[in-house]
């Protein structure tokens, strides 16, 4: 077998690399440069050194955006993961066994349905439900004689972030569910058999066999969810546009506002640069773990 490297293959990489440089690398570098400038979008950007970064350090809304992203990360990595884990185990170990795999798959598809819809339209649907005057949520509360619990869910700074988080949890459940269901399929049933022979049952089987064996999928779910939560934009745009006030502002929306509403291009670029750096660190971590997993598998 010849493993000599053939130079001719470089030509095949050419279109991809050229397009990558034009549409991704160049804009990214420009954006990075803009974060050191003051620019309204017209004229020439004025170099101002680290001023934008210093301004960000003391800007309440800058930190509020990042804080909201962190809250979203914490909620989305925990609640949907735990709920979907229980649904997955129940569907796989009870429903699929007692009622057949087709039934289990139908339920799986049902919980996965929100994931199929563009997330911004999920936002549109829930905004319609949260509407204070005629929305379905307040309507339901009133019919249950709980009229005093009705709120302007998205219009009240006290509840807006909670409402957004509820929507995101609802949307997210299907994602870990599908991943965990296929992870469970991978486990050798003999593992359970021999554990049962040793006297383990119920929760113990879950703790000592199921959980450790699907831990690779846990990493995948958690790291991808973190990246997803950091990038979140559509649902915020549809539900609250960052408001009321800045109660639900997130990093991407902060950049968007500075770019296109305040014409503070340099400052918007500062936020997006910082966000990119954070995401890259997490991505590198993800790939490390993926690689380690591949070696384990071999």
């Amino acid at each position: 077998m010849s493993t000599r490297i053939d130079k001719g293959y470089y030509w095949f990489l050419l279109p991809g690399v050229v397009l990558f440089l034009i549409f991704i690398m160049l804009p990214f570098i420009m954006n990075f440069y803009l974060s050191f400038t003051r620019w309204s979008g017209v004229g020439t950007p004025v170099y101002i050194g680290l001023s934008n970064y210093l301004r960000a350090a003391g800007d309440f809304n800058f930190w509020l955006s990042l804080r909201n992203n962190i809250v979203i990360i914490i909620v989305l990595t925990t609640i949907p993961t735990v709920i979907s884990l229980f649904i997955a185990v129940f569907l796989f170990q009870y429903v699929a066994v007692k009622l057949g795999r087709t039934t289990a798959n139908i339920f799986k598809a049902g919980f996965y349905l929100p994931q199929v819809i563009p997330v911004v339209i999920i936002g549109v649907i829930w905004k319609w439900i949260f509407q204070p005057n005629w929305g379905a949520l307040n309507d339901i509360l009133q019919r249950m004689q709980l009229g005093n619990l009705t709120q302007n869910w998205l219009g009240d700074p006290q509840y807006a972030l909670g409402a957004v988080l509820t929507v995101m949890v609802w949307f997210q459940i299907g994602y870990p569910l599908v991943i965990f269901m296929s992870a469970l399929q991978r486990i050798d049933p003999q593992m359970y058999e021999s554990a049962r022979v040793d006297g383990a049952k119920g929760m113990r089987l879950f703790y000592y066999i199921t959980l450790p064996l699907i831990s690779p999928e846990f990493y995948v779910v958690i790291l991808t969810t973190i990246i997803y939560s950091l990038k979140i934009f559509g649902p915020i745009f549809a539900l609250t546009r960052g408001g009321p006030g800045n109660a639900t502002i997130v990093a991407s929306y902060f950049s968007y506002k500075n770019f296109f509403e305040f014409s503070n291009v340099g400052y918007g670029a500062t936020m997006s640069t910082i966000l990119s750096l954070i995401i890259m660190v997490i991505a590198v971590l993800y790939i490390r773990i993926q690689k380690a997993r591949e070696y384990e598998g071999e």
Partner: protein, 297 residues
């Protein structure tokens, strides 16, 4: 901690097998289980159910009876009205056009990249892969403004072509990453044999593509759906009515028609329908790929 301590203290006892339940009780338990699970699923999907039932009412009926009542005499009038106001046929066409072209172009770019890296095993392949991973995870707002400025300069702002170009390359990053590792495992003997038979690199590329059709079609489905669902960049680049895609049109419609409950709901339903149809067409491919994929989120 606690669990493991308990584990140590409990003596290991062989569990006695429970006597099998009488058939009828077993059956009843199954039925209860299905009913409970179904109720739970319906409760979970209530937002979608509400959107469906309220899209067939007129505004007067909605304000009289609220969101929870089934329509008295369901009609498609609201749909017709929303369809015309939104020019839904135009938006659907735009979405389908952009997504399919991106799926094809993105696939071509990924295959060429992965061919050089996975089969050609070029020297800087691993290094190049690093950059494609970068393209995969980068938040779009870190590219948005320079691209916006650039597209205005080259007069591509507010054209479908701008979005097609940007997404073809953005999406191809994932395929490059995935296919490079798929192609790496391609049997070297096969390539050697093809070379001996006088195949040049293009012929070999044909062979590689022909033998990896399942992976390639999976990627195309992904690119199509992802692009169809995209929001941020299309929002910036597609400002005129004639160019907008479905997610944008639906979102902006809600902002404009704030007082029209059933029109909003019908519009959202129109936005959901194509995606649900894709889901039923591609269901098996998609759920399989969910696990293979990842970083896109």
């Amino acid at each position: 901690m606690k669990e493991s301590e308990k584990m140590d203290k409990t003596p290991i006892i062989m569990t006695r097998k429970k006597a099998p339940l009488p058939k009828r009780r077993e059956k009843r338990r199954k039925i209860i289980c299905v009913v409970l699970l179904t109720l739970f699923l319906i409760a979970f999907l209530i937002p979608v159910v509400l959107i469906v039932i309220n899209s067939f009412k007129d505004e007067a009926e909605f304000y009289a009876g609220g969101a929870l009542r089934l329509p008295d005499k369901p009609s498609l009038d609201i749909f017709r009205e929303v369809w015309q106001t939104v020019e839904f046929d135009v938006k659907l066409f735009n979405s389908l056009l952009i997504s399919s072209v991106v799926a094809c172009l993105g696939l071509v770019i990924s295959v060429l990249n992965a061919y050089a890296i996975g089969i050609g095993k070029i020297k800087w392949g691993r290094f190049a892969l690093f950059f494609f991973v970068f393209a995969m995870v980068i938040p779009h707002e870190a590219l948005a403004y320079p691209l916006y400025y650039f597209m205005i300069r080259v007069r591509l702002y507010d054209t479908k072509l701008a979005v097609i170009l940007i997404f073809s390359i953005l999406q191809s990053a994932y395929g490059t990453y995935l296919l490079s590792s798929v192609f790496r495992t391609f049997p070297a003997q096969l390539i050697e044999a093809a070379k001996l038979d006088g195949c040049n690199k293009w012929r070999i590329l044909h062979i590689v593509v022909a033998l990896n059709k399942p992976a390639l079609s999976l990627l195309m489905v992904f690119y199509f759906i992802w692009t169809f669902n995209e929001f941020f960049l299309p929002l910036i680049f597609l400002v005129s009515n004639a160019n907008q895609t479905i997610p944008i049109a639906v979102t902006l419609f809600q902002g404009q028609y704030t007082g029209y409950a059933t029109m909003q709901s019908a519009c959202a339903l129109l936005g959901i329908l194509p995606c649900v149809i894709f889901f039923f067409i591609f269901q098996r491919t998609l759920t399989r790929g969910m696990v293979a994929g990842g970083l896109k989120g």
